[in-house]
Symmetry: C4
Subunit: 322 residues, 4 copies
């Protein structure tokens, strides 16, 4: 520990080890941000950016607004992704496949709604019949990583490999190639956008720069890729998630979650905009929670002029109209 | 940063150091999950799995649904398990024995209900009279580990030893051998199911793959073991727990906890299913919380066709009927 | 990984490295708890224990129940204790002295109530006039450590020294020796009880084994020391605390905190028991929170037969009566 | 473990390794606080302190109270500050610029209110038109660090450099030199106050020792600097913030946040005092949250005698009047 080769020592003097930032995540990191040159922070910000708005003047068939319901079918991968094979934890996700998805499909059927299911490749392989039923009932199956990996921890080569594998797996099982992607944990890396372009996808639904759809810029260049933005606010996991190993707990009452989702919907209605809602079968699929989803659906259906659509439908409409 | 010695580069290619998964727990771990072969993730998922549903067509005596109340009498072991002997923290658990259990027994007696108490071996040895009273008043005493240890951190040999010791201790103190188990912290390991079979237990109540009872599969093989599934949602600890050393706090108001428990019950009622509720004497036993348990009990008793039963009774009925 | 030198293997067999317990705190620790002999866990549990109940048949002057309000005047020591001298964080505690205590004293005066203030030695030295005013207005000043140190991290020698220093400082500033103590963070160590006995104190208010007053046992021996038990449930900090460096946030609405405190009071009223409430001037002293304390006080005063008393008065009454 | 070389032992005696305090942050730290001499803790507390109150007898034009709304336009710097360039996380802040600020400006315009925007230098450089619009619509632009750095981790030289750079950037873009500062994360260091004096600023809004304005003392010396105190309680972030890497979640329902803000306002109204509210465009700017801000504004405007002012206006008035 005491002695190092002089070459290493010199290198060390030239490039002193900066303090590790507390929550540094994602690509980048290194020396403290306040020491960065303008080129660096400006470059980081411009890497992936919101371009022109794709909010249409009117929604399909003259609807006032648009609701896009989505379900991230993480199931067992929310445990596997951490390298854990704990049967106790895997069962928590197994619920999503055994109970959550059937309950959600039944609810959507009863209300005659179509939604989008974002499915990791491994989940599709573990539960192929589930994906076939989802498609058969008129819903969309779209990409959600391979095993719900943390994208920003991957090299570009690995990210590409996993994305292609996921694409092929979904295409084969669902019977049609996916046209959209939601990056697991919304952990969009610096190499994700080029890979989305390589795959020729229509849309992404992982970023948060707006409530309304927009076109993604790749280092300032318009890509034609439609972004259908998400937010933790419009996600069941932050309020209702549970992780025994951390302090993450389902502290928020379902009635309060309903209040939040409804307020987001009402804002979209007032603005004639888009309301994207993200849920998880092993979270929202439980009895005390599916009840608020049904209440929300009833409320939204009670409003005139609401277009319920899959993400693919929304993206196609916006791209064609805007 | 750019150049490395070729030896280091070679070493790096042979055995690249994988990033340590953030929350890796349980058996398994090692290289990142996205690098696992199919055999590995499929094997992990199939290790312990939900088999056929054991939900009966009708519940006992024609009841519409079933309520199984349970209390995990962790008492002092919630401190001891961490290797801590802090008198300050031990007193928090002592409350469970001194105040919580008597208050709960009095409540159950007043409402003429029978429940299940899951008791670590050490707790039984520290409070033998408590277990005898629990049994004398018609309730079930079942297994809950030795000292509330983290099962997935044990070798199989240690897990077996602790399980046998817990079994013998309960059998001796409660006057009858236990027929069921709830793994502490629901931390069901890869070796737990074979050990449950070795002990010849009737049921487990630690897994989460369903709301309804099901048969456990051991690497795909039906075991005859009844699973009475639990969930953090139907547990007082996530909402009301408190751990000074972490950010775990009792943020949720009792009225909101009541809302959640009631909604879970209502879902079970609507489906004619099972409602398993997990509580802890040192958590639910406090004045502001026992009040919501009583309110919940009154509400549930007000519904026609509810069968209140111990876990052993439910498991026996389901196994015989399904 | 597969092969080890036989020497290492032998060493490993003799003294296997136990997994470090996740949240090990307090005295003790070492090998995992499941490997402890009975003598060890039994000894730990018996070190400090609740003895006979000191709940009186009737409270003073025939009152039905007793309310003991307390304020832990941590002020700047909630920052200093961590070795931090951050002016930003110190100001958060400064509020307790500059605004919190005056607002609380005014509230108590308006309602003609007496309460107990637990004050670290350093806080008394920093704010001597505050302590004199507290005493002059009829309230109790009692011990709360030296600088809000973590007691279980101290050697016995240091713990004794700090306790004596705190005792002398309070005696000098408040004009009378304190008769009771609340250990900072309720972090009661294995050596705290003997030190309380050495100082000849009347009571402690740091443990949680009951709602009602009880006599403390020191390794099974009755000490005559009165315990006026506390609980995180009856404390403003868990719901309303804020620590930027952790995930501790004031997530619970004041109305929900009021709900909890009122339910605890109602339980005590129904049982004819004791209601001890712990608050902090820099937490409860804020405008949105002092409002719920006032509402609680009005509610409690509206009930007949409530005796409001300082901790010293309660302890003296219980000791004399029980 | 038992024996060490005598040199190491001597070194150890001279400089014993103190236990690392759990949450030590800010300047200071070293040996445990309970071992500090009086001079040290007294010096720490006196470094930056609240001096005489600057609460005026009457507010401007005879108003009963004063409301100062503020928005910390952190945008992308809440990600960059941690050394992260994750596009996924950057988009969360981008929302503040693209949607949050326009929505807030529109709301303020509709209600004819003026507010203060605290803007890091890097944000001003990334979004110069935003700052110009903010100023053009009558609002204040004030300092908020360079890249939302953690001030207490900086040397004095770096802190001065960043502060001057931020000052110059804002002056150039906003067209006028800023007169006030809010330290990022309210992480006021031991060298911040002298630097504020060097820059000749009118006020700071980062400390928490009072609800009312006060004069800052620098080591006991009155500085003439006005403090407009803040608090986490009167901030949207603690309730509604979200950080995937930690357990920080938006657990509190907007209606509960509104309850808290309203109660703080009511307290200020009752006392004829100041109500400073801190918000963030990427937090409060969302649909479900801007709604409660509007409701709060309507409520406050419905009360007679409320003076809405920018921080600069409040500071000037208090300095001139007190």
């Amino acid at each position: 520990m005491r002695r190092r080769s002089s070459a290493a020592a010199v290198a060390s003097k030239r490039a002193p080890a900066p303090p590790a930032p507390l929550h540094a995540t994602g690509n980048g990191a290194g020396d403290p941000a306040w020491a960065w040159e303008e080129r660096r922070w400006r470059g980081a910000v411009n890497k992936v950016r919101a371009g022109r708005s794709l909010k249409p003047a009117r929604w399909k068939n003259g609807a006032r607004m648009c609701v896009a319901l989505s379900f991230d079918s993480d199931h067992e991968t929310s445990t596997l992704r951490e390298g854990s094979t704990s049967p106790g934890r895997l069962a928590q996700g197994e619920y999503g496949a055994r109970v959550g998805v059937p309950r959600i499909l039944e609810l959507l059927r009863r209300h005659d709604l179509r939604a989008s299911f974002f499915v990791p490749g491994v989940v599709a392989a573990l539960h192929p019949d589930e994906q076939r039923r989802v498609v058969a009932e008129g819903h969309e199956v779209a990409m959600h990583g391979w095993i719900h990996e943390g994208t920003s921890e991957l090299t570009e080569v690995v990210e590409r490999d996993l994305m292609r594998r996921a694409f092929d797996t979904l295409a084969k099982i669902a019977g049609r190639p996916p046209v959209g992607v939601r990056v697991p944990s919304w952990d969009f890396s610096a190499t994700t956008l080029p890979l989305i372009r390589e795959l020729g996808l229509l849309y992404d639904s992982s970023l948060m720069a707006d409530d309304e759809p927009y076109e993604l810029l790749d280092d300032g260049v318009a890509t034609g890729i439609v972004e259908l933005p998400v937010e933790w606010i419009k996600d069941d996991a932050p309020y209702l998630g549970m992780n025994r190993a951390t302090a993450i707990r389902p502290y928020t009452a379902p009635s309060a979650v309903l209040e939040i989702f409804r307020a987001e919907f009402e804002g979209a209605l007032a603005e004639g905009g888009l309301f994207v809602l993200t849920m998880h079968p092993h979270i929202i699929g439980h009895r005390s929670r599916i009840a608020i989803l049904e209440e929300l659906i009833r409320y939204m259906k009670g409003m005139p002029g609401v277009w319920f659509a899959t993400h693919a439908e929304v993206a196609r409409y916006c791209k064609a109209t805007a």
